[in-house]
Symmetry: C2
């Protein structure tokens, strides 16, 4: 058995920061599966062609290509049912889908804080595409997007009240131990940690402590990744 | 066995609109449990004294008092384990807590649209308390709070993207059938439906269709409630 994952990388191939790829790195570790990650850049859409689309993560398992983080998580659960469950059962799997879409929303909320930092870490070949596509999306320059990020931070943190209330009561969204739901949300915070010195969460935020617990699991897999952890 | 629930009512005792009470009405129906609902008004905090606090829902089961919608849901699950599960297992229960806090956040997001409608349905004795406490919370008159609600509606609906993405893919947050997670979110929309002619969701919104499916379950329990359904 061989598992490979195309994983977004910066100019430094060791800097891996995609929030969606982080979900799957954690899911693979949860399943106890070894993976060979292949650094990938935005300009390499052609190498993903067998997956039928052009975004990462893409998993290649014994020649079988799977794209999209949610689809990959479901594939891993179905393919390795005897390993620790990512969902905790059928109801848990259904309930986890909202964590996936909520994780997507969180990526959208984090983006206007870190998008310039992403740009600055990218390989030179990726920069023109990234700048033009993101500036079109935001309707302004990357520098203008992040200019007022300090002022926007309190509203961002206030918007996390629903998430924060949970981790005040239990260690992980999945309960005493993490599940895929945790990784789906974690991705957005890990993205910020890997790409930007800007602190999305105050150190005493229960969500920062939850993030810290996830940095520690699987032998510190996520903590050891190049990033800006204090 | 006797189950009673203190349930917020308007001037018309048949108008029951509390988003938190609706969660429990649906949870009781899910468990197939009969309940005697007792109309309750804000000025009757004293009758809830045995619960140790002053808010509804309060459940009274064979003399045992339980407050707080999440605590009541967990109580029902633990007390009636042989009836249909509200959570779908231990992982599902842990994963459902975020739906509860997200439902709370949704109540907060709906409030500035319907708070004047709530006031206008209240019993005369409840009105002074409600107006002064909510005007203090919002920092303006109830009339001023709702004045720009049409203008704020697109942003509210955009904020539901994470929820909407789920019910485009599956009938309920719990999967093919609803779970407590559904009821936790449903409460906020049912609150609006019961108290206000203002439409929080466009008719063709997948979330409106999900709401409609929940209006139909349990013999149309929620659809039959006095409200403003089209």
């Amino acid at each position: 058995m061989r598992i490979q994952m195309y994983d977004l990388a910066g100019a430094d191939p060791a800097r891996r920061f995609s929030p969606y790829c982080w979900r799957i790195r954690m899911a693979l570790a949860h399943k106890g599966l070894e993976v060979e990650t292949i650094p990938w850049r935005f300009m390499q859409k052609d190498v993903l062609a067998p997956s039928g689309q052009g975004r990462v993560p893409v998993l290649v398992h014994d020649g079988h290509w799977v794209a999209d983080s949610w689809a990959i998580a479901c594939y891993l659960e179905a393919t390795f049912p005897d390993r620790p469950s990512l969902f905790g059962g059928a109801a848990g799997q259904a309930l986890s889908r909202f964590y996936s879409t909520q994780g997507d929303a969180l990526v959208g909320a984090v983006a206007p804080f870190v998008v310039l930092d992403v740009f600055e870490h990218l390989d030179a070949g990726d920069r023109p595409y990234f700048r033009s596509s993101r500036e079109q999306r935001f309707g302004k320059t990357l520098e203008a997007v992040v200019a007022d990020r300090e002022a926007r931070l309190p509203a961002f943190r206030d918007g996390l009240a629903g998430l924060r209330a949970v981790v005040k009561q239990q260690a992980f969204f999945g309960g005493a131990a993490p599940l895929y739901a945790d990784y789906a949300l974690f991705g957005a915070f890990q993205w910020a940690r890997c790409i930007s010195p800007f602190r999305m969460l105050a150190a005493d935020d229960p969500l920062a402590q939850w993030h810290g617990r996830l940095l520690d699991v699987f032998g510190g897999l996520a903590r050891q990744a190049p990033g800006y952890d204090a």
